[in-house]
Amino acid sequence: MSLLSVARLAKTYGGAAALRDASLTIEAGEVHALMGENGAGKSTLIRILAGVVQADSGEITVAGEPASIANARDAYRLGLRFLHQELNVASRLSVAENIFLGRAYPTRWGGLVDWAALRDRASAALAALSASHIAPETIVGRLAVGDRMIVKIASTFVDDASAPGRIFVMDEPTAALTSEESERLFRILDELQRRRAGVLYVSHRIEEVLRISNRITVLRDGVSQPPIATAEATREMLIERMTGRTRLEAAARPRQSTNARVALSVDRLTGKGLEEISFDVREGEILGLAGLGDAGGDRLLRALMGAMTGGSVTIAGEGVRPRGPAEGWRRGLAYVPRERRSEGLLLSQSISDNVALPHLNRLSHLRLFLNRLAERAETAAVGRRVRLRATGPRQRAWRLSGGNQQKVMFARAVAGAPRLLLLDEPTRGVDVAARFDIHALLREIAAAGAAVVIASSDREELLALCSRIAILTDGRLSRIVPAEGLTAARLLALCYGDDRV
């Protein structure tokens, strides 16, 4: 008897079919991966399981019993627990309070909160995840992202005798995690399997899915395909099933000519959490920034964009020291921040407004009055270049899928023909096809002579794109290695400080 079985689910939103025929089963002790491009219906399936929306048709069975999930409370009672990619924590409350958020706090004396019991039970939940390094009284806002994720996981694990958690739905749980934090999560998954719980694991990361899951179900255009045993699955097979395309692997890494001119030269740069970093990037080169956890790649990009406190930066032989992003863009730098929703997009505005924002001076009359025709023409041109799928330049950013939103960020970055492109996790939370398009675009931009610097926790991505990779350790540049001949495992070893080349 399966722990969870969904059969022939369908859901239509205002005429658009989000889910047409989705079926899958999860056995006790199984990690079942769910994969698919953005817009394939994964989110809708999760929302149905969570009771956020109701399916138009189809059946859900939990431990053999037909189940109807009308709201979040029903899902909870059935033992379903959800871990979303967006970390919804109450950042001003303590760890213990977050763990018990949304359920009854332990009480004493007729209703007053029993803070000591709350803390003890939170400690116990954290200890069960071997995460005793997190103190239950810490304010969550002070924790690293990975630790916040563990707090969320702990909150799904707190024992509730009336409704024990037995099916865990994880939506892109590693998207915001460092590699050690991901490892910790994987150990938690092992523990869940040992306890005979079931896990529905949604991820774009193929290597990860191949490593930790037992079976894989692929959704394409709202239709599920029969599950594959992970032992028999390959990367190519999954990509083909998700996209319907067979060949997605791109051309080899661009050849780097060593006599190209130096595009960016950084000398003893210092900044918040950065110490004396020096390196060069040549025109046409893609340099990767790798490191464990909070090593400082993101801070290095921000420092180049104007947050540096010391040292010097030379771009195309010209000494520059941007005092802020405004000057950075003016001097030919372009920056794609890590969090597209909170740091990048103007969600309620049009694609054209989003793309043109840093380039308004150029796309205007007399640098004073807007020139909407020029803005739309430019947006259409770069939109085609990044293969943006949208109804037109006036479509609002919030209506786009995650992959297309990221393409809007790229369209903004390449619109000014930048000399130096700074990218922070450029393909995070983006589906395989969009990732492919973005990688192709980056190679094209580099081939046209721009220098590109990418901070990424996705080692496969760095190896696929970069000619050299800079290894950062706690805000210091420990070494720069050529990517040629490097494997992901070797790169990880280098990040851990292994000195053999």
């Binding site: 990048g344 103007l346 505005q349 924002l357 903004r412």
Partner: protein, 321 residues
Amino acid sequence: MNSPAIAFVRRHGTLIGVALVVVYFWLHLPATFLTGRNLLNISQQMSMLTVVASTMTVVMAMGDFDLSVGSMASLAGVVAALVFLAGGSTAVAIGVALSAGLVGGLLNGFLVAYVGILPFIGTLGAMTVYGGLAFWLSGGKTLFGSAIPHGFSDFARSGIPLGFDLTFPNLTLLALLSAALVWVFLEQTVAGRRLYAIGDNAEAARLAGVPVRPLRFASFGLAGVGAALAGLMYASRVASANPTQGSGLMLDAIAAVFLGQTMTEEGEPRVLATLAGVLIIGVLGNGLTQMNVDSYVRDMLTGAIVIAAVATSSLGRRRGE
């Protein structure tokens, strides 16, 4: 949640409500309400609010507020009257009053943009300070008399003759001119677009090269100038200045912008929508006054209408997939 009927009510609910109100007044006041004279009268009554609400739209486009505009309007009127009492000319009085507005506004802008105080708190403090200053400078009295030149007070009482014994009031003209300037600024300039970017997502705007601090600083300055201009218009209209005469402007201006926001596509503040909001408040006030409704009741109705409008427009505005 997304049925066409709900979408229609959400977007146009405010206008439907206003149309009903206008029809109601028209039926109850057939002889006086929908007449050219009365409409011009309303436009003049609303001219100060039009100016303040327009510049308030600029600040609110960035997602900020300026609570000090009412006090600033009073202060500017008092300052102008003091200049007159000291023997200054009309030009000097207007210049000094507008400068006071600019300085006061930039001070707000400095607190918000460079010191980093929340606009609500910063301008709340400024509201009290400017209000107190107006009392202190005027000695708590209404300033009037022969010192106020006729040229200054006649401006508000005259206008462009339209024939049929009607005149287009100067104050209305000035208000429309100010609103038009703000419209050009917000809708047609690079700086205006950047303000909306800040209002949508200030951090994203900063990282995309928008000079967030200077723009915030300058926008509050503009709101101060708008408030001072409204104060001068008021002083001209009543040929006097007292330290509380602008006090109703701030809440009405914010209400007008909110009413306007219920009529725009994404709920953002737009000047033309704000003008519609001003008109709603004006029509309501004028009609209820003519029907001899108590001014307290009028306040209650205005407040209830703002809440109802914002509530209908947020029906189903929740964003999801």
